[in-house]
């Protein structure tokens, strides 16, 4: 298994380099360091000298990918890309364009993101699996049909509608929770109720339908018939046997997102005023802060790779036949 992990980590390196290169090129296709300087220096009284100074101060005075003025390997290494990328692999994210330390910001902002994403994920998983199993239990009945119709209806509505609708009904009309905001400690709870509720309801349609399909695949297999023949109750058949055997595809979708829960949600955090990493990324894109954007993309890639590794590991836990070699 150790060899397997070492091999996967080595595979990850070219992936990360590729992602980093792609981000770099996409960013600088639409942006030049001069433009970034102008955005940060403001609209008034910006002189060419000030722009040059800003570029030097932030390290954007070097060639992007190829330094024609250098010699030997320095033609490739003495560039903005290498300069900005190498530090990333040491998880040294540096400072944002406004001077704030990015690693510190990430450490602070990951917790509010997690506070929303983790209950959303766990409660959602329980709700979606339960709802899917209930539909399977009543398969081919009116209850099943009603469940599917409900799922399709929920899927058809934009996620933004749930947010605005939730804020309008629960926050504005019924005055049960704050419309938006965040607070540390115990006070956090009242700010989390609505975004978690909205998140769970918003994901109910597609996730439950997906899980229902998985369970319907399993429900007609021989081991299920055997379990019933043994006299097991339908609850035990569904929750122990069917659910257990459908775990591989469920884990494929679920475990991979666990490490990325830290990264938060772009829209939910923005609308609910959650100071997490999702809103951090949105702000950075709007401010064209490349230092933050590349750090967040890099972190997202790393966590995604970690998620895939965890998924592979989880296969061995739910299916003894799986071996990582």
């Amino acid at each position: 298994m150790l060899n397997y992990f070492i091999r996967r980590v080595l595979y990850a390196l070219p992936i990360l380099i590729g992602v980093n290169l792609l981000t770099f090129m996409l960013f600088f296709v639409v942006n030049t360091p001069d433009n970034m300087a102008r955005i940060h220096l403001g609209a008034k009284y910006v002189t060419p000298e000030a722009i040059e100074k800003w570029k030097v101060e932030h390290g954007y005075d070097r060639p992007l990918l190829y330094n024609a003025g250098a010699t030997g390997m320095s033609k490739l290494t003495d560039t903005l890309f290498v300069d900005k990328s190498l530090a990333l692999f040491a998880f040294d994210f540096g400072a944002a364009d406004d001077g704030r330390d990015i690693a510190r910001e990430i450490r602070h902002r990951m917790w509010p993101s997690l506070a929303i994403a983790l209950p959303n994920f766990l409660l959602g998983l329980v709700a979606y699996l339960s709802f899917a199993l209930v539909m399977v239990f009543f398969r081919a009945s009116y209850l099943d049909l009603a469940g599917v119709v409900l799922c399709v209806a929920l899927m058809s509505v934009s996620g933004l509608f749930y947010i605005i609708g939730g804020q309008y009904l629960v926050g504005k009309l019924w005055h049960l929770v704050p419309v938006s905001g965040f607070a540390p400690g115990a006070e956090m709870l009242k700010f989390l109720l609505l975004p978690v509720l909205v998140g769970v309801i918003g994901g109910l349609g597609d996730s439950s339908r997906f899980y229902r399909t998985l369970f319907l695949e399993e429900i007609h297999k021989d081991y299920v018939r055997t379990a019933r023949a043994k006299g097991l109750s339908e609850r035990v058949v569904l929750f122990r046997h069917v659910l257990g055997n459908a775990m591989i595809p469920i884990l494929t979708g679920a475990v991979v997102v666990i490490p990325r829960l830290f990264l938060g949600s772009l829209i939910v955090e923005s609308f609910f005023g959650i100071p997490g990493l999702g809103s951090y990324t949105i702000e950075a894109i709007q401010a064209q802060d490349f230092a933050i954007v590349r750090s967040m993309v890099f972190l997202g890639s790393v966590l995604y790779i970690v998620g895939l590794l965890l998924t592979d590991l989880s296969y061995t836990l739910v299916d003894p036949r799986v071996r990582l070699e």
Binding site: E57, D98, Q167, K172, H175, L176, E234, S279, E283
Partner: protein
């Protein structure tokens, strides 16, 4: 205690809680009269435990707990802390202003900060020598930290003093001698903390000391000291510090003697040094800024420059103590975001107590704030409007101002209506809800807003939007009669009365020239109309209004220009114009369509070239745009700040200046230089009138509109006077926290029936499922299929 006795006790407690939290509403206003037994803590008392009532069976106790929870929810409706309050308990009852910011500030260093979002904070903390009078109009400068206004001395090349009325061309230097008020002290700050030996407590900072520090509050000891003239001079030198990249360094280098040279010397000094190394600016003399004594300093600028005084009311010229910069430059500080750029140190009415731009920023009253009083004079009508009711009272009125990060307008507006923000602007989405237009065309509050006791204040911004013509363009630019007539025709065709009505909900006034309302040189009434675009329609009672010339007149000008019916009279080719804009996306689409249709009314095709901000800026710098839209917000209330936007030597293409239209007119340029150094008065007005006439005739811009700002405030906020030049207005704000608490409770009673309904729906959905499950389980349990249950 018996079982029944315990139950009665709990019932009484609940009933007591319900009684204790009541606001009494009388005749549309709320008189908050807390009952003598009102105890907000009662609402948060803990649930009974088995230990409290050992006689009760556990299931009975559980039922009682449920009842208690339900009853607690009901009583919350009457509590003074609504459950949907986004603030900790008790905060609404203090003298705290609740507001919001949508964009996190980038810089709070007075040498770097130059945006409205940052000024909200910096201008409450930092005190430049001068400020704008809160009430007087036209906008008037007054001392803030100084004794009187700066003493101005003009000097010739030899340094000899010249008389006040000396010709501007004889004046080589202007000296401003500024005398500070003694006794002004800085906010408490660890940079000023001293140990028993009188040495700085935290400089140098030991590694182990820093290990305990995460935030500025972690430094337990603070100190303060008196403001001295050297602090102001130090800050002026900071403008030249290459590490700070001050946005006004380029401009100030043209004004302040020796500043450019200082920048070069500092550049050499920092070359090769790590970014965090402390740079002692006291070692670098600056000819243009010198300390005379403890309380006096001198600023020396080139030539005669009357506008320079306005810069002395901006935080760029606020004092910065060298200790603070030294304190923050220590190793490990920047990594903790402890920099002067994030943790300001000032003498203002407030200091930044909590700096969490991800969630909230808190300004707290500076305990060391110097004596400052509400003005006792204003302009005519201020007394009648109640604006002098606080005359002579010490400032500030507030203890704190809490600014929450609120990126989206929908939750912001909802919270304002719930009473959780004290003031709000009006977005286009909420305009109809907040404002109705009266039959006379004037905006008024909607009935709903009136019922809530909300007040409205409007003011015409000291800013101008314009559509510029690139004067270097071969078709629409240049000094030819043909191009000029074409520009004039377009000026008439773009109907900004319609634009303001459609896209701004009436929140703006069409502009008549390059100077917006509220700035010296602006003329109202018939004398102020742009005769190229408008004619005056008298009402027969001595008044009248400006009426836009008809599209037929515009078409006639177009024909005169050689484009009858929008076609080139020589070639017969249709005329096509190009409109460059950075507005794009669905929201801007209708506005851009409007431009296209307006020009099409002349028979001319307008092609929209929308692009992002960066590319638009590129086009402007290279002179590749033909027609474009842009705006300018006044830095200071002087016509020079707008007329210099058309000054030839400020061309965007050749000089990277602010003259985006690249307009050049020799007479206009001469008049700019003359007007610049004149005192406000009839003679200056005459010069300005001539300049305005020139640009109306040449039409390098379509004078579009000046926006009108609408601000809503709740009834518990004392009405203030809009002041579009000053940003340090927080100290004049006053509010009634008790009324706010009462209104918040009244407007935010929780509605609980949806919870009960939701529980019923869930129960109703689960019951048939459970019954069907049981039936199926039982049916499957016997070979005959009969129920075994």
């Amino acid at each position: 205690m018996s079982a029944s006795g315990g139950g009665v006790a709990w019932s009484r407690r609940i009933a007591g809680m319900a009684r204790s939290c009541r606001g009494i509403v009388r005749g549309g206003t709320v008189a908050w009269e807390p009952a003598p037994t009102c105890d907000p803590r009662a609402c948060r008392r803990s649930l009974p435990t088995h230990g409290d009532c050992p006689e009760l069976p556990l299931h009975c106790l559980a039922m009682r707990r449920l009842w208690f929870l339900f009853a607690s929810l009901l009583t919350l409706a009457a509590c003074e802390e609504p459950v949907n309050s986004p603030y900790p308990p008790g905060e609404a009852g203090r003298a705290v202003l609740f507001s919001a910011f949508s964009e996190r500030p980038k810089h709070l260093d007075p040498a770097r900060s130059y945006s409205e979002t940052e000024a909200v904070f910096t201008q409450q903390i930092y005190e430049p020598p001068l400020q704008y009078h809160y009430l007087k109009r036209p906008y008037t400068l007054e001392p803030l930290t100084t004794v009187g206004m700066p003493v101005v001395t003009y000097r010739d090349a030899s340094g000899n003093a010249l008389p006040e009325l000396a010709p501007a061309e004889d004046i080589v230097y202007t000296e401003y001698e500024i005398r500070l008020r003694p006794g002004i002290r800085y906010q408490p700050h660890p940079a000023f903390a001293r140990d028993a030996a009188g040495q700085p407590r935290y400089v140098p900072l030991a590694e182990q000391d820093l290990a305990q520090v995460e935030r500025l509050e972690d430094f337990r000891e603070t100190g303060s000291r008196e403001l001295v003239a050297a602090d102001y001079v130090y800050q002026i030198k900071r403008l030249a510090n290459p590490r700070l990249n001050s946005p006004i360094f380029g401009l100030m280098s043209e004004y302040i003697v020796g500043l450019e040279d200082l920048g070069k010397r500092l550049q050499e000094a920092v070359a090769g040094l790590p970014q965090s190394t402390y740079l002692d600016l006291d070692r670098f003399p600056l000819e243009g800024a010198e300390v005379i004594d403890t309380y006096r300093y001198l600023i020396r600028v080139r030539g005669k420059n009357l506008q320079f005084l306005y810069w002395l009311a901006m935080p760029f010229f606020a004092p910065v103590p060298a200790e603070a910069e030294r304190f923050y430059s220590q190793p490990g500080m920047a990594e903790r975001n402890l920099t002067l750029d994030w943790q300001p140190v000032g003498t203002g009415a407030f200091y930044l107590a909590i700096n969490d731009p991800n969630r909230r920023m808190v300004l707290r009253r500076n305990p060391n704030y110097h004596p400052d009083f509400y003005p006792d004079a204003g302009e005519a009508g201020d007394a009648e409007a109640g604006l002098l009711a606080d005359a002579g009272k010490p400032l500030p009125f507030l203890d704190e101002a809490i600014y929450m990060l609120e990126r989206e307008s929908v939750p912001y507006w909802t919270k304002f209506l719930q009473g959780y923000y004290d003031m709000s602007g009006i977005s286009s989405d909420t305009f109809d809800q907040a404002v109705r237009i009266a039959p006379d065309g004037q905006p008024d509050l909607s009935d709903d807003m009136r019922a809530r006791g909300i007040g409205l204040a409007t003011a015409i911004d000291t800013s101008l939007w314009y559509v510029g013509f690139n004067m270097r363009d071969p078709v629409i630019g240049g000094d030819t009669e043909r191009a000029r007539l074409l520009r004039q025709a377009v000026s008439i065709a773009l109907n900004y009365e319609q634009f303001v009505s459609i896209f701004l909900n009436g929140r703006g006034i069409p502009a008549q020239g390059p100077i917006p309302s509220g700035i010296f040189g602006y003329r109202d009434g018939e004398a102020g109309i742009n005769p190229v675009v408008y004619r005056w329609q008298a009402d027969g009672q001595g008044g009248g209004r400006a009426v836009r010339r008809s599209i037929d007149e515009a078409a006639a000008l177009l024909a005169q220009a050689g484009y009858p019916n929008g076609r080139d009279a020589t070639t017969g080719e249709p005329l096509t114009l190009y409109f460059d804009t950075m507005a794009s996306g669905p929201d801007a689409r209708s506005r851009l369509d409007w431009y296209r249709k307006q020009i099409e009314a002349l028979g001319v095709q307008l092609i929209i070239r929308d692009t992002d901000y960066n590319r638009f800026q590129d086009k402007m710098r290279k002179g590749n745009a033909q027609i474009f839209e842009w705006g300018w917000n006044a830095d200071y209330p002087d016509p020079e700040n707008f007329l210099f936007l058309l000054y030839g030597p400020n061309q965007k293409v050749e000089r990277n200046g602010e003259n985006a239209a690249n307009y050049v007119n020799a007479e206009f340029d001469q008049l700019v230089l003359r007007m610049k150094n004149m005192e406000n008065g009839p003679e200056r007005q005459e010069v300005i009138d001539r300049m305005v006439d020139l640009v109306r005739h040449d039409a390098p811009w379509v004078f579009a509109y000046s926006p009108k700002s609408f601000t809503l405030r709740h009834g518990w906020v004392t009405p203030g006077k809009p002041n579009l030049m000053a940003r340090n207005l927080l100290k004049y704000r006053r509010l009634d926290p008790a009324a706010r608490v009462a209104y918040q409770a009244r407007w935010n009673r929780p509605v609980l029936w949806p919870l009960a309904l939701g529980a019923l729906v869930v129960f109703g959905a689960l019951l048939p499922a459970v019954l069907a499950y049981r039936k199926r389980q039982c049916a499957a349990a016997t070979p005959s299929g009969d129920s075994a249950c």
